[in-house]
Symmetry: C2
Subunit: 229 residues, 2 copies
């Protein structure tokens, strides 16, 4: 039975992943700069210096965490976007897909969202590219939906994409603290919320008119009443 020194509790390549797991957990909890390599080592029951057998630097560990976090996000999104369903359905599926990892990879995702900016320039750029590609997939679905007449023509695809992603990312923060909010439920509610707002109006008049107002009088947007459908 292995113990004390040179112990190997698990398979050969598996140990490295355990260490990344620990790093993700610690970074997510205390923040990259707030966490020390000692914290990571403690969580693994090993010595701080031993970590450097697996990683050349703390930054490299963060990079690994972020890379695994980003993982197959893009691929899954592309798979959904490439399907034959309507834009609304695709978006609902994309929301579900975006939110899903919070359960089993919450630490990774949170770490990515909050600590990615501390990566060295090179890896930051590489990861940034992936993120931008992901945004592009979403935006593509929205643009196609507009083109097809399924979504409102006055949508700003870029802002809508960012709104959607931001909303989901925010959920990563409070997920687990909110009672009665499993991923499925959150995803469903989010989908209804924004997708119904994006749908091409059937009979109703969009809220548009009231927006750019406000310059004249008081702060508020005096809304004109909607004409019932």
């Amino acid at each position: 039975m292995p113990s004390a020194r040179g112990a190997r509790t698990v398979g050969p390549r598996r140990r490295a992943e355990e260490i990344i797991d620990a790093a993700a957990a610690v970074f997510a909890e205390r923040g990259y700069h707030g966490a020390s390599t000692q914290d990571v080592a403690d969580r693994l029951g090993m010595r701080q210096a031993s970590l450097y057998y697996y990683f050349p630097s703390k930054e490299a560990a963060l990079e690994q965490v972020c890379l695994r976090s980003v993982g197959d996000f893009v691929e899954r999104a592309q798979a959904i976007a490439g399907g034959h369903r309507g834009a609304a359905e695709k978006l609902a599926a994309l929301i579900q897909s975006h939110l899903a990892p919070v359960e089993i990879r919450g630490d990774y995702v949170r770490c990515f969202l909050r600590e990615r900016r501390f990566l060295p320039r090179d890896s930051a750029r590489r990861i940034g590219r992936v993120a931008r590609r992901y945004e592009g997939v979403l935006q593509g679905v929205i643009e196609a939906g507009i083109e097809a007449g399924e979504l409102r023509r006055d949508l700003d695809p870029r802002l809508t994409t960012l709104a959607l992603i931001g909303m989901c990312n925010a959920a990563m923060e409070w997920y687990g603290r909110e009672p009665d909010a499993p991923v499925r439920r959150i995803a469903d509610r989010f989908a209804v919320l924004v997708i119904d707002g994006m749908r091409a109006a059937r009979g109703a008049t969009p809220f548009s008119g009231s927006r750019a107002k406000r310059s004249g009088g008081r702060a508020g947007s005096r809304p004109r009443r909607r004409i019932g459908g």
Copy 2:
């Protein structure tokens, strides 16, 4: 002419605010733990030790930043919520109000959003109370809107509130990097996006059916179909 030592460039109480400004900027850029008191001092052209004339600790500086960030958020929200307009209008105004500080207080707000969790327990709790009160104001507007029949009855007020806030908070992150996206425009788009999704449907069919597809009879909450109206 004041210079070198003991110089006072500005009024008596004003200096402290300059220092908080610098702290906010530095904390926002590098993160609380990633930023050193030296960084703050550099930005002010003063010595690191001199900061401690104004603040007993780095944590105290962070607390000040967060307190000022939270500022009059709640009051402004309450003012809007207390008005006599409809829920949709109030929400649009709330979005605008929420987003507004990013222009002149971006550093503060970003610092609050990202670094608040590193505050010592006591101040974290105090600030947490403020944040929760703010959420409550928004949620109250939504609940009132539902009650009044202006907003969809099947909205989850809590999740909707969090979605709204999360969407806006996310914008704080990318604001300034997105071209052609002044606050006003973002606020308008966001308002259209979610508020139209929240409105009590007049003719349109909600999206419910297509969502839960993919579950194949899984645990999830089978979304109940809305009865139109």
